[in-house]
């Protein structure tokens, strides 16, 4: 049934799908390096036309987006550490079958997966705790992902019990077993889960939109949203304005600056993400 023709069209179709998936990214990259004239006349598709980096120069001189990028770096780095510090030890504890109350604690986590947190109750809680307009409002609502917790727990459960037994006989305490034995043997899962958290934090958007109003604290995503929505003449804060550059180019450059770090580490990210998803789906 599937002859040579069928096979060729399969390959062509998939290649086209792959190309169309990345085309919008290549297009925006080309626009960000093109001249205003070329952008307005709609000539830009895959390659920059009349190459120039004016848009980037202006964005960097303006500084707002860079400041927001710096915020995002802080949010991502500190947030990933916080998430991991809360998730990893808890997953380790829940993986211990001998623990008293294990079933109850597991149920507390599992049951919470059945319903989402309402925006308004969450907002009022944040207000009550006086955490609005701080990065805690970004980190705390998703401090521990139940899904990540269970993936990690089942990874710990899959580790050979004899290892720990022999360590116990050698006099190791729970703490030293965790730090000297379990953690070093869990690098693949630690890498995968940290990257799940890190990418989510880099892309953090709604929590910042809901809970942060101080524009100096905004992450790059919300800053970018504001730039994309703004009328043409107020895109930049400086007096030089956007008079001589087509704002489409400026917006494109802002988009590229926001997404560049993700694109740069993508091959690395992707490998660990896939591994993490597969680890998670084994036990479901």
């Amino acid at each position: 049934m599937v002859n040579r023709l069928g096979r060729t069209s399969l390959y062509v179709f998939l290649a086209v799908c792959g190309f169309m998936t990345v085309f919008p990214i290549l297009n925006i990259l080309a626009v960000s390096f093109s001249s205003s004239r070329a952008i307005i006349s709609g000539e830009v598709s895959l390659w920059p036309v009349e190459f120039n980096a004016q848009a980037y120069v202006q964005l960097i001189r303006d500084g707002q987006l860079l400041a927001a990028l710096k915020n995002t770096v802080i949010i991502t780095a500190a947030g990933t550490a916080l998430h991991m510090l809360a998730t990893t030890p808890a997953a380790y504890t829940l993986s211990k079958k001998r623990l008293r109350g294990r079933a109850f604690f597991t149920f507390v986590v599992l049951f919470s997966m059945l319903f989402g947190t309402g925006l308004i109750p969450l907002f009022l809680l944040m207000k009550q705790l006086q955490l609005l307009d701080s990065y805690w409002a970004i980190w705390l609502p998703g401090l521990v992902s139940a899904y990540n917790l269970f993936v990690m727990k089942s990874f710990f459960e899959g580790m050979p019990a004899e290892l720990e037994e022999s360590a116990t006989i050698d006099g190791a305490t729970d703490l030293s077993i965790f730090f000297r034995l379990t953690l070093p043997l869990s690098k693949p899962i630690l890498a995968a889960i940290s990257l799940f958290y890190a990418v989510a934090l880099w892309n953090t958007y709604s929590n910042a939109l809901y809970f942060i109003t101080d524009s100096r604290l905004l992450p790059v995503t919300v800053k970018l949203y504001q730039m994309l929505q703004m009328p043409i003449d107020s895109l930049l804060s400086g007096a030089e304005g956007a008079s001589y550059i087509q704002p489409e180019g400026l917006k494109a450059a802002a988009i590229i600056l926001t997404v560049a770090p993700i694109l740069l580490v993508y091959p690395f990210l992707q490998k660990h993400f896939v591994k993490g998803v597969l680890l998670g789906s084994v036990k479901g």
Binding site: L14, P24, I39, V44, G118, T258, I262, G284
Partner: protein, 324 residues
């Protein structure tokens, strides 16, 4: 020190023996033995209690007249007043309709997309080609909706966008995709597929890899072509996975991702793009109608839960595993 250690080990070894009476003292000793483990659990447990269960209690303001001054406890009970207001408001039905409609489109077009892609990828024999295509297909999943939305708007712009430039070559007048209430839902669904169909193939491909290759051998012996093998072996092999993902998707029928809609939305297409999540944000956070917005959220959550339970039961009746 060494005697303490000995005791600890004894306690551990004695645990599985059912004959040992579980006195309060031995229970306390177990807890003391595992004290570090409980400390390990503490931050996560506190998080779940405060941010999942205390906020669940906060949902009660849907039945109260919430005022900041009175707090959640102190505000006066008003029963179903807010729900009555909602069910009598045109906006609410409108928003509910949009939410359901976009989700029906999702089920019809976006849900099958990764299945089709995975079936196609599964037929590729050249490993390098498969891997290259997968690398490209996964990419948008890692990018935030602000960025994806910005790219879409730029791509579809009637004046400078490449899509309209291309259509212009065939003599088509520029189409205002983002501001047309006919085109907007199409853009929304296509962008869903763009962002997540590639990533969604992973779980199906894993299910396909678990199918016994002997089945294909036997089918080949019987003279079955590739298409018949896909129909009789591959598809039945991933039926369970499809069923589970379908149950999960049904649970989201009342929910359209806020970040996705919000970043594609504009005033011109409000009539088709205003959904529950954007409505709650608007009336709740922007207009500070806390109780009313909570009622909307609660309604959404309860219907979503009921849907999951019903679909899970149905799927089980049809002989699939389901979620639990």
């Amino acid at each position: 020190m060494s005697s303490m250690r000995g005791e600890r080990m004894l306690g551990r070894a004695a645990l599985p023996a059912a004959s040992v009476p579980k006195t309060r003292r031995s229970r306390l000793r177990d807890v003391y033995r595992d004290r570090y483990l409980y400390v390990f659990l503490l931050p996560a447990l506190a998080y779940f209690i405060v941010f999942k269960y205390v906020t669940l209690f906060g949902e009660t303001i849907a039945f109260k007249n919430y005022r900041l001054l009175d707090g959640i406890w102190g505000s006066e009970w008003v029963g179903l007043k807010h729900f009555r207001t909602l069910f009598n408001s045109e906006d609410f039905w409108h928003v509910l309709g949009n939410t359901l409609l976009l989700n029906v489109y999702h089920l019809a077009f976006a849900f099958p997309a990764p299945i089709v892609l995975a079936l196609l990828l599964n037929e590729v024999r050249a490993e390098w080609f498969k891997r290259a295509v997968q690398n490209l297909l996964y990419l948008p999943f890692f990018i935030s909706w602000v960025v994806l939305g910005g790219m879409i708007v730029s791509l579809l712009s009637p004046s400078t966008g490449v899509v309209n430039a291309l259509l212009g070559l065939f003599g088509v007048e520029p189409i205002y995709f983002m501001t047309s209430s006919v085109w907007w839902p199409v853009v929304f669904i296509v962008s869903t597929i763009w962002q997540s169909a590639g990533w969604g193939t992973i779980i199906y491909m894993a299910a396909m890899a678990a199918i016994d290759p002997g089945l294909y051998e036997a089918a080949k012996m019987d003279g079955a072509g590739r298409l018949r093998q896909v129909w009789h072996i591959t598809l039945p092999g991933i039926r369970g996975t499809i069923a589970v993902l379908l149950v999960l998707q049904m649970g989201k029928m009342m929910d359209v991702g806020f970040e996705h809609v919000y970043n594609l939305q504009n005033a011109a297409v409000f009539s088709v793009s205003d959904v529950i999540s954007t409505y709650v944000y608007r009336i709740g956070l922007q207009n500070a109608q806390y109780s009313l917005a909570t009622a909307v959220g609660l309604f959404q959550g309860v219907i979503g839960l009921i849907l999951v339970l019903i679909v899970n039961k149905t799927v089980k009746k049809l002989g699939e595993g389901g979620l639990w």
